[in-house]
Subunit: 182 residues, 2 copies
DNA sequence: ACTTGCATGTAAGTGGTTACATGATTGG
DNA sequence: CCAATCATGTAACCACTTACATGCAAGT
């Protein structure tokens, strides 16, 4: 999923500026799929306009910089549909935490405990993000389907982790004698 | 998780050639975290050797090309542990399929059905890969912990998908009249 | 006075993939 | 005879990130 496709997917339902797109894919429920930086979004939008897949209009605002609002064209819609019709790339999951976990036994216990707590926190935050916001009025049924799938998966992930994290902590190296020689 | 760290993590428990590493991270239970190509593995190993974090020895074989077997050094072990002790990057999940699913309503039904079946198949394959192979004798407890976590998550993912995929299919655009006028 | 938010964009750098180059052996 | 497996490596290319450049307004 390149940034180009990400932009088309967001513009499919509503117009937006580069800035909007960035926010949607870092905060909104698009964070799911991709996260893109300004450095990739702005050039992608410019190229999409060159190719005639999106059109732009500059919106002046009082007290704020002008926004360049992009909207998808008919050509853009069919290009996007065509792209989705091609064979899909494989889903992928990259977990620095799980690599860390595999080596719990060579790491100090307090570090493992700390990282576990951080991970639990992030799991809970992710879940909360999916629980908040989305409702029938601002989401299509397909959107809801995706959100529910995500929710189901994140829920067990969080639950499993919560009930098994202590095992991971006990595997960790016992504290390397802190200077608590009281 | 860059390829450099991937190599160190694999070499931590046993020596291996670049070729071995490639196989382990595409087939083995390392596929979990990263997937790397030869074009990144070989240069990474060379650089690790330059830095003194791994050592190599050339193993001649009859009827097969020579293998360059790498093993981790003490410096490598501590460098790896140091890397794991730094703040972890965020886990991430990229799903071309979920993007596809969000747009089920604009896509032809038979395509959606096909992609759903493919996705189900891949889910089941992924699960089978985790169920096979790993046992106490070739895995550390931490390895088993990670595998069990993955198993728990993949299991509900597959189960949820299997019971809800038909909803997604019914959202898809009705067939654009095939020439089956029998 | 300073930071934060809004807003757009570029240039340099990074971390990878794809394709290529090479070559021997085994199995269909 | 051709394809696949084993095995190492390089070069060209790509997508994306980071950091930079700019600037104004509102809140602290």
């Amino acid at each position: 999923m390149n940034v180009r496709t990400l932009c088309l997917s967001i513009l499919y339902d509503s117009e937006a500026s580069g800035y909007d797109i960035r926010r949607m894919c870092t905060e909104g429920n698009f964070a799911y799929f991709v996260e893109a930086s300004y450095g990739s979004i702005y050039p992608a939008l410019a190229k999409l306009e060159d190719d005639g897949l999106v059109a732009s209009r500059t919106e002046l605002q009082e007290g704020k910089p002008a926004r360049k609002v992009y909207s998808i064209t008919d050509a853009g819609r069919s290009a996007f549909a065509a792209e989705l019709s091609e064979p899909l790339g494989e889903d992928m999951f990259r977990s620095p935490f799980l690599l860390f976990a595999r080596f719990a036994h060579i790491l100090p216990r307090d570090l493992v405990e700390q990282r576990c707590n951080e991970f639990l926190q992030r799991s809970q935050d992710g879940l909360k993000q999916l629980d908040g916001a989305p409702d029938e009025h601002n989401c299509t049924p397909a959107d809801m389907w995706v959100i529910n799938y995500g929710r189901a998966v994140l829920q067990v992930a969080e639950q499993h982790f919560r009930t098994h994290m202590h095992e991971l902590i006990t595997m960790a190296r016992a504290e390397p004698q802190k200077d608590a020689a009281e």
